[in-house]
Symmetry: C2
Subunit: 265 residues, 2 copies
């Protein structure tokens, strides 16, 4: 399971302030708490309306974070230049977050992804907008895998994000996502599947329960990557338990290991 800790993201006010103020201790602490909770990648998003500031933020974040953790990085930006800087500095094989089928974005990002070994999150989003069914997602996943194969990406370097959309706007939204995960996992067993799933609960009360149920249902259907706040209670343990239920974690080896390491509190 690829668990990407999502907390270092400039859309969070406190993080934006820490980045703007170059507050090293805040960032280092946020990395450490995610690592302790079971993250195995650290997402870095230094988004800024000023494109040059975003590049400088990425440079500062990558240097700071990788000198304070052994975990590899997930470079999260809509700016090609920020991703380029991140890729040039990252010591361990990083994940690029993210590309989609939107023509302009795809054209700009594909060449960058060949500059060095990296994984990539590929969103089932196109110029037609969000996918609206399970089949739609499967078809788009196929096109993304083909595009990425064309530039030399191996299946296990690709993480397909099926687009987790709010269940409050369509009762079948979550079911379509889970169903697409099941089919993509079956058709492309070596490709990873996952993304940021908290969008599913948008507009609902007590979102944590919806997020956890979605997590368990998604892992049951074959999801093996998640962009989450691993410090949320029950989150990482339910991912690991979901892998037991789905038989991805044969004989519960990973689950029992996590218990031994104190990661199932």
């Amino acid at each position: 399971m690829i668990i990407i800790g999502e907390k270092i993201n400039a859309t969070r006010k406190s993080v934006a302030a820490a980045i703007a103020g170059r507050d090293e201790q805040f960032i280092i602490k946020t990395v450490a708490e995610q690592a302790d909770a079971g993250a195995n990648y650290i997402d870095l998003n230094g988004g800024d309306p000023n494109p040059q500031a975003e590049v400088a933020n990425m440079e500062w974040l990558v240097k700071l974070v990788q000198s304070n953790t052994d975990l590899p990085l997930c470079l999260d930006s809509a700016s090609v230049d920020a991703i380029k800087v991140g890729l040039s500095l990252a010591e361990k094989k990083p994940i690029v977050n993210s590309i989609s089928l939107e023509a302009e974005r795809l054209e700009a990002f594909l060449p960058v992804l060949t500059e060095r070994e990296c994984m990539v999150i590929a969103l089932c989003m196109s110029d037609d907008g969000m996918p609206t069914s399970a089949d739609d997602r499967v078809e788009r996943a196929g096109r993304l895998i083909e595009q990425l194969g064309g530039i030399g990406k191996k299946p296990d370097e690709i993480i397909i994000d099926p687009c987790f959309v709010p269940v409050s706007t369509d009762p079948n939204a979550a079911r379509y996502v889970c169903e697409s995960i099941r089919i993509i996992h079956e058709k492309f067993p070596d490709v990873h599947i996952g993304g940021g799933l908290s969008n599913v609960s948008f507009g609902l009360p007590k979102r944590k329960y919806i997020n956890l149920a979605m997590l368990a249902a998604s892992v049951y259907n074959g999801m093996d990557a998640a962009i989450i706040d691993p410090c949320t209670p029950y989150m990482v343990p339910l991912i690991l338990a979901g892998e037991v239920i789905s038989a991805a974690d044969q004989w519960c080896a990973n689950y029992v290991g996590a218990h031994r390491d104190g990661r199932l509190q």
Copy 2:
């Protein structure tokens, strides 16, 4: 969703002592806390090695509990006589817990089930033992539904228990159960499916996480009845969230209602 509160069960030491000592306050408190947590049936198991004591326990429990709650009862015994007494005393349409395909048990229980209107939990267990695959469960469910149909039970009076077996003894055990739930739900859409799922985590550490992941995966696949301790944190909320994900709770009406009633703490 049928949520059966399982706490009044003589296999629990404190409950056995309360039953033996006719401790009304203990039982009343245990009923109330389960009702508050979201149970909509109260399971009553006064199991005793002495058959006459078991009948007397059931009589005492049914009278006491139904004079202290509006919830209907789930009469839980392997003793035909205890079930008979329970059925004769229960004011609201109860659930009988349980029958199976084991010939002796089936023969003894079927006539009793016609004595009054009641629902029944039907275990996919036979004289050949526990089921070992998804297909095995589906086939047994079909036979149980046929037997119960033969004595006049309507589909929605039947709760098929697919037999939740420990995942520690077979890595695919939980997957087989979920898969059988999906197929039974598809083949018999009016029949309820569920049971006591905590057996799944037998032998593993931090069982609560395995139980919750199994719960969410089962509800996603069509489970709509659960025998649980509703006071366990996250348990009832994850059932309700699972119904949102699976689209059983269209437009989240039930989930939002539970939030309004303070049942999503």
